[in-house]
Amino acid sequence: MIVALSIFLITIGSVAFHFWSPWWWTEVASNWGNMDDTILLTFWITGAVFIAICFFVAYCVWKYSYKKDRRAEYKPEDKKLESRLTWATAIGVAALLAPGLVVWNQYVTVPKDAYKVEVFAYQWGWKYRLPGEDNILGKTDIKYINDENPFGLILEDPNGKDDLLVDAQELHVLKDRPVKFELRTIDVLHNFYVPQFRGKMDMVPGIVTYYWLTPTRVGDFEVLCAEYCGTGHYAMRGRVIVDEEKEYKKWEAKQITFEKMLAKNRKNDNLQLVKKDK
C-alpha cells in the first residue's frame, strides 16, 4: 500500500514540479525557438509515457500484492500485445525524431545572406574578428601567432589586412540579421554558448567549426564556455550584445583593422627596443 502510494505520489509530484517550479529556460533571443518547440513536443510524449507506466506500476503493486492463497497468472508471452506495443513505441519515436531532424537540417544549413564573425577562443577568454570591408576573413595559422600578431593571421594574405580585430571579451551583433559564427581555438576544446541563443558548437584546434543564428531581440547576454577546457573553464565568460543597426555601426567604427594593429604593435616594439638601447 505504502509502496503503491509512494510511486503514485512521486509521479504526481514530478508533474507538479514540472508545471509549478520556478526553474525553466531563459527567454529565447534567437530564431531557434523551434528547438524549444521540439523540447516541448518531447515533453508531452515522454511525459504521457512516464505517467502511464508509473501509474500502471502503482496499480499492480496495490492490486496484486502477495496473498498466500492466490496464484499468479502463468503467461510466458503474448505476441499480439507485444507487437502492438512495439509498433506504438516505434510510431512515438518517429514522431519525436522527424521534427528533430528537420530542425537540425536548418541548424547545419547556413543561409547565404549570413554575415560572418570569427569567434577566437583561448585558455581562458574570448576574442572576435570581423571580415572588414571585403567581407572575407583572412587565413590564419597557429605558427603566425606572436605578440605582434595575436590572432595569427597569415601576413601574406591580402584578405586579412582589413579584418577588424576585437581584442576584448565583448561582441556586438545585429538584430534580425543571420550571423554565421566561425569558431576557432588556438589551444584546447572550447564551446561558444549563449543560453538565450540556444545554439552550441565545440571549437577544435586545427579546424574551424561553425553555427548560425538570427538574434531576435536587443539585449546583453553572457557567453559561457560549454566544453571543459581546464582549470579556468568556469571563468571563461564573455558578452554578446545584440544591437540595432545604429548602435552596431558605432561599435564597429571603434574597432581597428589588422593592418593598423600590426603597425601599432611594431611601433611599440621599436620604442621598447630604443628604450632598451638607451
Binding site: V3, W24, I39, C60, A72, K79, L81, L85, A94, Y234
Partner: protein, 609 residues
C-alpha cells in the same frame, strides 16, 4: 525431421493422458553425458585459498568488495564536490581540486565500481552457479584477472599522491586539454590514469574470456541457451560488448600516453598552450573522441545490460510469476547490445565533427529506444496479475523501474540531435546519466545484494535496516536528480566550479543547489547503514533456510548453501526446465526448480501459446 516430430507429439499425448497415474522413471530420462566432468583445481595453502583464490565465487566476492571500496571513495568525492557547489563562498575547494574530484568520481563510478561490480562481481559469483558449472573455464586466468584489477585500482589511487595530483581532465579525458598545462595533473596524474585503464582492460579481457567460454561451453546437461536466466544473458552480452569495446579505449589510451610521454602527434594538433607554442602538429582531437565513445557508449550498456538481466530475475522471483515475454527480453538484450556499436557519435553532436553525421546517429539512437522500451513494458507486465512479495529485492526493483524509466525518457531528449543542442553540456546531461546509469543500476546492485546475500553468507540481511536504506536511497536520489534536469533547462553548464555571478541565474537556482547537496549528504550517509548491514549481517543475520526466496534458478539448488568448492558435490545438476516456472497451473508449489525432474511434479501442465 517430420518423423521425429510426430514421435515426440505421440510421446507428449501419452504423457498428458496418464498424468494422474504414478510417475514412470521414463520421463526423467536424460541421455548419458557425452562430456567429461570438469576438472577442478584444489588449493593447498592459505595463500591460494584466501588471497590468490581460483574459485569463481570467491573471486566474485573479492571483486565486489574491491569495487565497493573504490566506489566509496567516489561517493566521498561527490560529497566534496557538492559542498563546493552549494556553498561556493566557503572557498572549500580550489578549482583544480574540484576538477580532479569530478574526474576521479566519474571514472571510478563508471569503470572501477559499476563495470567491475557487475561483470567481475556478479559475473563470477553467478555465471558458474546459474549455468550449473563447477567453476569458470580457466580459473587461473580468472585469478589473474582479479589481481590485474587490484593493480589497476592501486595505480589509480596512487595518482592522488604524485606531484600535481590526479588528472582533472574530466572522465572523458579529451585531448589536447588532458595533457596540456591548463589542466591539473596534466603530466603525472593523467599518465597513471591511462596506465590504470590499460591494466583494467588487460585484466578485464582475462575475466571476459572466462565469462564467455563458461556460458557457452560449460553449462549443465539440459541447459540450453534459451533456458538461461536473463541475468546470464545480460552479463554474457555485456561481456561480449566489453571485449569489442575496450580495445577502442586501449587504442585511445596507448596513443595518448605516447603523445604525452614521447611528444608524438596522434591526437595533438599544433597549438599555443598558455602562451607557449607546442611542437605537436596535425593531430586530430576528434579522432580521440570517436575512439573514446566507440568504447564509451557500449560501456553504458556494459553497465546497463547486467542490470536489465538481474532486475528481470528479481521481478520474476519476487512476484512469483513467469517473466513476461522471455524471448523478447533475450532479443532486446542482444539487439540493444548490437545496436550500441552504432550510436556512439550521439555524444558528439556538437563536437565539431561533420554535422551531417547527426542525422544518422540521431536515427540509430532513437531506434535503440524501441527494444529498451520493450524491456520496460515486459517488466511491468510481469507485475500484472502477479503475486507481488514486497521484499527488499522487489522494492529496489520497483525503484529501478521508476528511475530507469525517467532516465530513459530523458535520453530521448538528448538522443534527438536538435534537442541536444541547447541541453548538451548542461546539468540536464548530468541529471540524465546519473539517473539512467548511476541510480538505476545501483538500485539493481542493492536489490541483487539483498537477494543473493544468503547465497554467499548463509544469512539474511536485516530487513528493517534494509527498508530504511531503500526509502532514503530511492526518494533521496530521485530528489537529487529530478530537479537537476531543470537546472539544465535554465542553462547551467556542467563542469563549472562556480557560476553564481551570471546574470541569468537567479537566487532560486542557487537555492536548488543547496537542496540537492543536502539530499546528497543524506543519501550518502544512508549508504553507511547499508555497509553496516552488509558486514554485521554476516555474523548477526538470521540464518537463511535453503532457497529462501523459493527461486527456480540453479544457484539456489546446490547441495550446500552457501555452495562449497566445486558447487555441486558429486554430480553436476541435470536441467529439466527453464528458470521461470512460477505458479504453473496444477503444480503443488508456486515454483519448480530447474533441476526438479518431471516425475516429481506430475500435474503441472502448461498450455501451448
Amino acid at each position: 525431421m517430420s518423423d521425429e516430430y510426430e514421435h515426440k507429439l505421440e510421446a507428449k499425448s501419452d504423457y498428458a493422458g496418464d498424468a494422474s497415474s504414478v510417475s514412470t522413471p521414463d520421463i526423467d530420462a536424460v541421455p548419458d553425458a557425452e562430456l567429461p566432468d570438469q576438472e577442478l583445481y584444489h588449493s593447498h595453502s592459505w595463500w591460494t585459498t584466501y588471497v590468490f583464490s581460483q574459485d569463481a565465487k570467491y573471486i566474485g566476492i573479492q571483486y565486489a568488495l574491491t569495487a565497493i571500496g573504490t566506489g566509496l571513495l567516489g561517493l566521498v568525492l561527490s560529497w566534496l564536490m557538492r559542498i563546493q557547489l552549494a556553498w561556493p563562498g566557503l572557498g572549500w575547494l580550489e578549482p583544480s581540486s574540484y576538477y580532479q574530484f569530478v574526474t576521479m568520481h566519474g571514472m571510478i563510478m563508471v569503470v572501477y565500481l559499476l563495470t567491475a561490480l557487475f561483470l567481475g562481481g556478479f559475473g563470477n559469483l553467478l555465471i558458474p552457479l546459474m549455468c550449473g558449472a563447477r567453476d569458470m573455464a580457466f580459473p587461473y586466468v580468472n585469478m589473474l584477472s582479479y589481481w590485474a584489477f587490484v593493480v589497476a585500482v592501486v595505480v589509480l589511487l596512487a595518482s592522488f599522491f604524485v606531484p600535481g595530483g590526479p588528472t582533472g581532465a574530466g572522465w572523458t579525458l579529451y585531448p589536447p586539454q588532458a595533457i596540456t598545462a591548463g589542466t591539473p595533473g596534466y603530466n603525472g596524474g593523467i599518465i597513471l590514469m591511462l596506465i590504470s585503464l590499460i591494466l583494467f582492460v588487460a585484466g578485464f579481457t582475462m575475466g571476459g574470456l572466462n565469462y564467455i567460454i563458461t556460458v557457452l561451453q560449460l553449462r549443465a546437461r539440459g541447459m540450453t541457451l534459451m533456458r538461461l536466466p536473463l541475468t546470464i544473458w545480460g552479463i554474457f552480452t555485456a561481456t561480449v560488448l566489453a571485449m569489442f569495446a575496450f580495445p577502442a579505449l586501449l587504442v585511445g589510451c596507448l596513443m595518448m600516453t605516447l603523445d604525452s610521454l614521447l611528444g608524438t602527434s596522434f591526437f595533438m594538433p599544433a597549438m599555443v598552450s598558455l602562451g607557449e607554442t607546442l611542437t605537436h602538429e596535425g593531430g586530430s582531437p576528434i579522432l580521440f573522441q570517436h575512439l573514446f565513445w566507440f568504447f564509451g557508449h557500449p560501456e553504458v550498456y556494459i553497465v546497463a545490460l547486467p542490470a536489465f538481466g538481474i532486475v528481470s530475475d528479481l521481478l520474476s522471483v519476487h512476484s512469483r510469476k513467469t517473466i513476461f515475454g522471455y524471448r523478447m527480453m533475450v532479443w532486446a538484450i542482444v539487439g540493444i547490445g548490437a545496436l550500441s556499436f552504432f550510436v556512439w557519435a550521439h555524444h558528439m553532436y556538437v563536437s565539431g565533427m561533420n554535422p551531417w553525421f547527426g542525422f544518422f546517429f540521431a536515427t540509430t539512437t532513437l531506434i535503440i529506444a524501441v527494444p529498451t522500451a520493450i524491456k520496460v513494458y515486459n517488466w511491468i507486465l510481469t507485475l500484472w496479475r502477479g503475486n507481488i512479495v514486497l521484499s527488499l529485492p522487489m522494492l529496489f526493483s520497483l525503484g529501478f523501474i521508476v528511475t530507469f524509466l525517467n532516465g530513459g525518457l530523458t535520453g530521448l531528449f538528448l538522443g534527438n540531435v536538435t534537442v541536444d543542442v541547447p541541453l548538451s553540456d548542461t546539468y540536464f546531461v548530468v541529471a540524465h546519466f546519473h539517473m539512467v546509469m548511476g541510480i538505476a543500476p545501483i538500485l539493481v546492485v542493492f536489490g541483487a545484494i539483498y537477494h543473493w546475500y544468503p547465497l554467499v553468507t548463509g544469512r539474511m540481511m536485516n530487513e528493517t535496516l534494509g527498508k530504511i536504506h531503500f526509502w532514503i536511497t530511492f526518494i533521496g536520489s530521485y530528489a537529487i536528480y529530478f530537479p537537476m534536469h531543470y537546472q539544465g533547462f535554465v542553462g547551467v553548464p556542467r563542469r563549472y566550479y562556480e557560476i553564481y555571478d551570471s546574470p541569468y541565474i537567479d537566487v532560486s537556482t542557487l537555492l536548488l543547489n543547496k537542496f540537492i547537496t543536502i539530499a546528497v549528504l543524506i543519501v550518502g550517509a544512508a549508504q553507511l547503514l547499508f555497509l553496516y548491514n552488509l558486514f554485521a549481517s554476516a555474523r548477526l543475520g538470521k540464518k537463511a533456510e535453503k532457497n529462501p526466496w523459493k527461486a527456480n534458478s540453479l544457484e539456489w539448488q546446490t547441495p550446500q548453501m552457501p555452495p562449497e568448492h566445486g558447487n555441486w558435490g558429486k554430480e553436476p545438476p541435470k536441467v529439466y526446465r527453464w528458470p521461470y516456472d512460477f505458479s504453473v497451473p496444477g503444480a503443488k508449489e508456486d515454483y519448480i526448480p530447474q533441476n526438479q525432474p518431471p516425475s516429481e511434479i506430475i500435474g503441472a501442465k502448461v498450455e501451448k501459446t
